[in-house]
């Protein structure tokens, strides 16, 4: 596998991460941490690539960036979906999470599923552009003009507070992290969203780089088996068991 | 003896540290035709602009047609004129500029009728009738519908004269009305002005570098230098027999440059 050799030689791998705690965190010192980069860093080290260079990217720009060779891998909580599995080569699952809603205190519109939003003609949902939540909402029949593309989590919370949207949807852990930071007694979390599956992300590689992906998988498997995996991700709130109880093939073929 | 229509009394005009007019006094009798000559920068344009209230004055008084120009009476005091007073005084005075200053967005006829209609409340029909008479007089009746850009310099200047006349001022000021024109076009404008001088009893003040024309046109010639009148008199005296050395030097140069006196 040429690609891995290349990476070893240059001494680092470029990974795309999202600006979304707890998948990713950027400390006040500028140091990148978070569940996804931490796992990637360890595995790449074991593969002989000393360092990972992380660049924060919009969700929408990750896959084109990967395809354009701007990143060697995406480790950003980019959940596996059949279309995405066609576009990139995923590793085995790493971080799993269900979907959640952030809503106003008391959930005034009584929204617990994407279907509820579709049925209530006044409800507007905010979601990251190109993310799973946007897709789920559209698939549930929410019309395009009630699915607001929100640039980032902080903007989503702000828009919810300002009443521009009625629901802001992200994975459970992301929503909790945002809520912790917002400390707003007027908001609450609905989790998990009824009828929405649990999704898992994996490290995403270019289609040509299957060999690299396979090498990654070998180390990932060892990590999971040794129990170090759980130590890495559980402090961030993720469940190691969830990741280990499913496979890429299941996630990629899951009927939607 | 009649009283002067213009009485300029000890006028001072300064631009910052530069004193352009320094205690100048002139009296002009009704109907008199005055030519102002002198070297560049001597203040000829400035005095016309002051009479037209395009400048302010730094000191002195001006009486036009029996009333103060820059001042007005308030009870026993003389205070600075306000816009209304100036507006009323400007009715008595018209001016023609070196660069015509026609309104480029209006046709010849509208250039002439604009002010009578706006400031004298003239109806369109009356204003146009009078405008056509004036255009006829300056030989421009056939160009009534042209816009200024379509006219030659001489034609523009004849329209500008008609425009100033349309307000029937008592006093007309002309500032080098031919010096922006091609030599061949000068004559047509001077002809109009000769007729004007001969046929009306308007008071006229003329700044010019055309000595020959000044000679024919004026009742009295004032020679300016550095903001003062150095010499004045009938044209014959000034041109044929100047007394002051400065006047002699100026005329010698002008004549050497090919201008006839």
């Amino acid at each position: 596998d040429d690609k891995l050799n290349d990476l070893k030689e240059q001494g680092f791998a470029r990974i795309a991460i999202a600006n979304e705690p707890p998948y990713t965190a950027v400390g006040a010192d500028g140091k990148v941490s978070g569940a996804a980069p931490d796992v990637a860093r360890v595995i790449f080290q074991r593969l002989g690539v000393k360092e990972v260079v992380a660049s924060i990217s919009e969700y929408g720009a990750m896959i084109p960036g990967l395809q354009a060779g701007r990143h060697d891998a995406i480790t950003a909580g980019l959940f596996m979906k059949p279309e995405r599995c066609n576009a990139v080569a995923y590793s085995e699952p790493i971080l799993c999470d269900a979907e959640a809603f952030a809503v106003k205190k008391g959930n005034p519109l009584k929204l617990t599923s994407y279907k509820d939003i579709a049925d209530n003609t006044n409800a507007k949902i905010g979601a990251p552009g190109g993310g799973t939540e946007e897709k789920l909402a559209l698939q549930a029949g929410v019309p395009r003009d009630r699915v607001i593309v929100v640039p980032d989590g902080q903007s989503g919370v702000k828009m919810l507070q300002d009443g521009r949207i009625d629901v802001y949807s992200l994975p459970v852990l992301s929503i909790h992290d945002l809520m912790d930071k917002a400390k707003d007694p007027n908001l609450e979390v609905v989790a998990p969203v009824v009828g929405a599956p649990v999704y898992c992300d994996g490290a995403a590689f270019r289609k040509q780089d299957v060999a690299l992906r396979d090498a990654f998988d070998v180390e990932l498997k060892k990590l999971k088996e040794s129990g170090e995996f759980a130590k890495l991700i559980e402090p961030y709130g993720f469940s190691a068991k969830a990741a280990m109880s499913t496979t890429r093939d299941k996630q990629c073929t899951a009927a939607q | 003896m009649a009283s002067p229509i213009i009485r300029i009394d000890n006028i001072v005009k300064r631009y910052g540290p530069l004193t352009v007019l320094d205690g100048l006094s002139i009296k002009v009798m009704p109907g008199e035709k005055l030519a102002l000559i002198g070297p560049s920068g001597s203040g000829k344009t400035t005095i016309l602009r002051i009479l037209m209230t395009l400048e302010t004055i730094s000191g002195g008084h001006i009486e036009v047609d029996g009333e103060q120009l820059y001042h007005m009476r308030k009870g026993a005091d003389l205070i600075s004129a306000d816009e209304r007073h100036l507006h009323r005084m400007r009715k008595k005075i018209g001016m023609v500029f070196q660069h015509f200053n026609l309104f480029p967005h209006k046709c010849v006829l509208d250039n002439i009728t604009l002010a009578p209609m706006l400031t004298q409340g003239a109806g369109r029909a009356d204003a146009e009738k009078r405008a056509m008479e004036l255009l006829d007089m300056v030989g421009m009746a056939d160009k009534a519908k042209a816009v200024p850009a379509q006219l030659s310099g001489g034609q523009k200047q004849r329209v500008a004269i008609a425009r100033a006349l349309a307000l029937s001022p008592k006093i007309m000021l002309f500032d080098e009305v031919t010096s922006a024109l091609d030599p061949e076009l000068v004559e047509e404008v001077l002809n109009v002005m000769r007729r004007l001088a001969a046929e009306t009893d308007m008071t006229m003040l003329l700044v010019t570098h055309e000595m020959g024309f000044a000679h024919d046109f004026a009742d009295r010639v004032l020679f300016f230098d550095r903001g003062k009148i150095v010499e004045e008199g009938r044209p014959e005296e000034i041109f044929r027999n100047p007394k002051q050395e400065r006047t002699q030097g100026f005329l010698r140069k002008i004549i050497a440059a090919g201008h006839r006196v």
Binding site: G131, G163 | G94, N101, L102, A115, T119, A149, R163
Partner: protein, 219 residues
Amino acid sequence: MEWDWDFVWQIMPTLLEGFKITILATILGALVAAVIGLALAIARRSPIAAVSRTVGFVSEFIRGTPLLVQLYFIFYVLPDIGIRLSPLVAGVIGIGVHYATYTAEVYRAGIENVPRGQWEAANATNLTTRQAWIHVILPQAIPPMIPALANYFIAMFKETPLLSAITVLELMNQAKSIANSNYRYIEPMTLVGVFFLAVSLLSVVGLRWLEERYARMDD
């Protein structure tokens, strides 16, 4: 990645939706810029120093900082003081006020470019200040401004993609959304480029026409 014509036809209606919003935002923004710009130009001529200085500083500030950040401010910070604008309104105000600081300069230059002799001729024919403005100065000042104003309106058009940052579903945002959900980028982004280029080329032609039509009339 290869170019896929079927995909192009499939996404065209959605892009046209976005295009409509882009045009709407541009037109409304242009109106705001035209009106506020005149107000700024007049305020900057104010004889009251406090007014002209303050307006001058605020204009400089708006002109020296990025529209993107201003939009974030209007959309995400203003609600904290109780001003909640819809995305399109916030966008139109943001882009309009930003460009008003440019159009103000155009107005100023246009007014100053009317030769002094025109004021003097108006005075010499005894028009009042108001009459001079209405009948002599503005009719000459405005036509030469039109091309410069139009130029800024075209620039505004090209900046509308920024509105996607405040969730306005204009052309660029629609294209991104299509790209994200289909994992195909080249077609939508190229089409956006084509839309912009087409409008710009058309407006260049329009601008030439305006420039000829309103070329300075000389005395």
